[in-house]
Each structure stands twice: as C-alpha cells, then as structure tokens.
Symmetry: C2
Subunit: 294 residues, 2 copies
C-alpha cells in the first residue's frame, strides 16, 4: 500500500485523543469515521469537539474554521462494521488495557479487509502486548499523537518486533500527509520519544515541590526563564489535569515501590482531594477562576 492509497480512516475510541486524531485526518481531506461502542460517548465527543473548536476560535480563528469544516465532515457511528469494511487505516484510542485493546483489534481484524493498516495510539503500553490479536502483526504499529494534535504535530511511529519495514514507511509518509511530524523509532520503548523526556522532566519538577525544596511557582519560573517556554512544568500539568498526573504517578509508585514516587503521589493526591484538577476545574497548581469569569 502507498500512503496516497489511504483514503478512509476508521478511528476507534471517541475520547479526547480519538476526537482529535479523527479531526486531524478530516481536515487533510480523508474520509473519517469515528467509532465508539457507546452512543453516549459519541454524542459527548461531538459536544467536546465543538467546545474545543470554540476555545481555538478565541485565539486562532482561521484554524478554528478549518477544524469546524473538518468536524462537519466526520461520520460518527456505534456500529463499526460498515466503516471497517472499506477502511484503509485504523487508529485505535480505546482505554489503556492490553486485553481490551486485543479484543478490539481481533474484532477489527474480522471486519476489515486484509490490506487495512492497524495502528494504536497507546500512551503507556507497547504494541507487542496485543500485536498477535491484530491477526496482521506485520501491518500493525504504534502511531502515537500528542495533544493538541493540530499544534503539537508530533507523531511517534514505533514498530513492534513483527512490524514490516513497508508498514513503517507507509506510516511515516501518512503522518506527513496529515500535517504531522513523524518521529521514527527503531524499536519498542515505553513512553516513546517526547513523552519519555517530558515525563522525566515532570517527575523531577514534582519531586522538587513535593520535597519542599522550591515552590511550584519558583520551579516554573526557573524553567520558563531559561528556556523561554510560555509555561513551566506545573503550568503544563494544569493543562494535562492533576487527576491524570496523580493516577500515573500513583500507578508507577505502586509498580516500582520507589519511595520518591510514593511521596510525589501523596503530594499530588492532596490537590485532587481538594478538587484542584487543573484548568478544567478552574484551579490546579494555579488559579484559573478569573479566566472562567467566576
């Protein structure tokens, strides 16, 4: 298959990443179906996309028009069979459970033609965990997007040991075709490329604050002043959501037993317990209530 042969994309899982991946493909002229088994999740995805586009409009009206036109062309369905039968590429963003992903891919293998390329957007797993279930391991790899997809523009293209070279080539060029910057990995590695570095940075920032070495504000000031980035680690984590950050930190604290991670998880939990979840709740490490007009 040539990258130009990819015309019909089936995005499975209508959470934030599925929505954005679908939209990114749609604004680049592809026929995109967003599929979720839950009708309510699909309705919520439509509303969430509208809200996202409204937020983009405030700062980048031209981009927002572009996104809105793409959203209008998105097909949404709870029944994947028809879309699957004619799909050239599948992008999977269902919850991070290897067994669930395996079941989803096994079902897709029955519904899709043999030519269809399968990709996973998993963040915390690696594709070899469910490659066999795809029924087509040579035509399967990770194609991992970053949020927001239209401005982060980085896609990790990561093989598992059974991915063919031809599949890697097609996926790298497909990523370019949908306006993304492909980062080609030579082999599986948890956390890919950007996230591996970003997570290390965040762990260190949280450690400094949780250990009482420096305040959230001082840590961010040090980072933004030297790098000239608009946000420091904590400002960026307020965008990600403190519940997510706590969940991941707590998970790894329990898996590794690392005492520093345990300290960090406890420190994050106090924010979550106080309802400080980041930008989405109006307050996280910083206070956004004024920005919400409250």
């Amino acid at each position: 298959m040539e990258p130009d042969d990819i015309r019909r994309v089936l995005v499975v899982g209508a959470g934030t990443m599925g929505q954005q991946i679908a939209l990114q493909c749609a604004i680049h002229g592809l026929d995109v179906t967003l599929h979720d088994v839950d009708e309510r999740a699909l309705a919520a995805a439509r509303s969430a996309l509208d809200a996202t586009i409204a937020r983009v409009r405030a700062k980048e009206p031209v981009l927002a028009e572009h996104l809105a036109a793409g959203a209008a062309r998105l097909a949404c369905t709870a029944d994947a069979a028809e879309a699957a039968a004619d799909s050239d590429l599948v992008s999977e963003s269902v919850p991070e459970d290897p067994e669930l992903k395996g079941r989803v891919f096994a079902e897709l293998d029955r519904l899709c033609p043999g030519r269809t390329l399968f990709t996973t957007n998993t963040s915390s797993l690696v594709p070899s965990m469910f490659a066999a279930a795809t029924g087509r391991p040579d035509r399967f790899a990770a194609l991992h997007f970053h949020q927001p997809v239209w401005s982060a523009t980085v896609v990790d293209v990561m093989p598992h040991p059974g991915t063919s070279e031809a599949t890697m080539e097609v996926l790298v060029r497909f990523a370019q075709r949908i306006g993304q910057t492909p980062i080609r990995l030579a082999k599986e590695s948890p956390g890919y490329v950007f996230n591996a570095m970003y997570n290390a940075l965040n762990r260190e920032a949280i450690t400094l604050a949780a250990n009482g070495v420096a305040s959230v504000e001082e840590v961010d000031k040090a980072w933004t002043t030297v790098t000239k980035m608009p946000l420091g680690p904590f400002g960026m984590l307020d965008v990600v959501g403190l519940d997510t950050v706590f969940y991941i930190t707590d998970y790894w604290a329990k898996v590794t037993g690392d005492p520093q991670l345990t300290t960090n998880a406890a420190w994050l939990k106090a924010f979550v317990d106080a309802g400080r979840l980041g930008m989405k709740s109006g307050r996280g490490f910083y206070d956004y209530s004024a920005a919400h007009g409250e």
Copy 2:
C-alpha cells in the same frame, strides 16, 4: 546589610562562569575584581571574554556594547588581599573540589571584613560541604548562575542549614539588582532547580539514543516540534560540550553503578574519543564545520 550596600564584588576563579558573573555585576554598575591565583588564567579570561563579546556582537550588537563597557571596568588580580579587604560580596567559582573550596573560603575569611557575604557558584556540590570553613556560615549561601549569565538570567539562591534568613533576603534582592531572576530554594538540594530538571531531560534523551531507540536527530525533532524551543537536548549538549557531558555521566555511572548510565557514558565516550566535542570543536552530535568556515 542591605542589597544596596553591596558595591564591591570579588569574584574568585576566572573560568567561564567566574568571567560571566564578574561581567554581569560590572554591567550593573558594581565595582568588580576578578581574582585567580594563576596569572595565566587571568590573561586567558580576558581573551575569552573578548571572544565571547565578539560572538554576542554578531547577533546582539547593543548587548555586546554593554558587555564590552563592563569588561573595560573589570579589575583582574592574582593577589586578592587588597580587593578582599574592601569587598561586600564574594562569588566563588573555583574547581568543584570541596576541600579546595574550603581552603579558598578559609583564606577569604581572613582577608575579608566580617560583614562580607560569601557565596558559592558550585554546580555539583552543596554549600554545607564547606560552610564551616567560611568562618561565617550564617552569611554564606549558594548563589548559582546559569550560562550565558546575561541571557539565561536565572540564579538559584540556596541556603545550607546554617544560612540566616537575612542573608537569603539580601541575596534574593541582590540577584534582582544585577538583572537576574532569583529562584529561592527552601533547603539544600543537589542540582538546584533548573539543572535538576534539565539533567533529567538530558539523561532520558541520551538513553533513547544510546539504546538505539531513536536517532539524535529524531529525539531533537520531537522535542523542538512540541515545545517550539530552538534547540533540542542534543543541540543544547553540543553547546555545553560533549567532554563535560561524558565526564558528568561517567562520574555518576561509577558512583551509582547504574547500568543505563554506564551504557550512556560508553556511548558518549565514542564521540569524545573521535574528537567530536560539540560546537567548540566544530563537530559534536551535529556538524558545525560549515559555520566555522572550514
């Protein structure tokens, strides 16, 4: 002492950081003496500062004029006694050996008035290692600059357990007075704030390349595309110098016995052995020979 009472600064150690700290104080109107026991080091410092200013001039002519005027006002001496007798603040940047730093501060304690504040610019040590030797632990703290001092503009102000609150207050306001952004630490922590995060990022970037997961170019592309920073981790390390990066990685590999750090050190050593030291040698992770007109 009030921050405005600091008029005479003695900078001890004429390496890159000592030169830049001296210059930063001089361009903010202070009387600065740069001291090194080695006359040749002082002469080399003058030449190095001239070369630095010439490089700045190519891109920022106004800043370069400012720096040149400061450099013209710098006093340099191999005999610290006279400058010490009238100094309000000492900034130490001698080699990273706690015993050497202790000897230097003990000598300065004999030469300086009791009011003089003592600060260390150490990167890899912590001030408590030689606080007793200063003879004035309450008036001693770390005042740690970042390179290049005039554009990174971040200064860690870090106490050891015996530093007085008054000393911290004066140092924070002194840092502001010389055009820097003070980052106030509540207690000692190796690597301070920015460097702790930056080192974690670098370790992860080097790990990805040393393990053959992704190339230097792909790692940098992922970082710069998402963050919009002009350089990725490897581009920045080419500025730092690969010999320095190898030295630090190898040191920690030996201290901790961490197998990943041992792999990373071996990977870095191949570049150093090939004479690829970064920008300064014309080639490091990237090739700068065209920029050098070679």
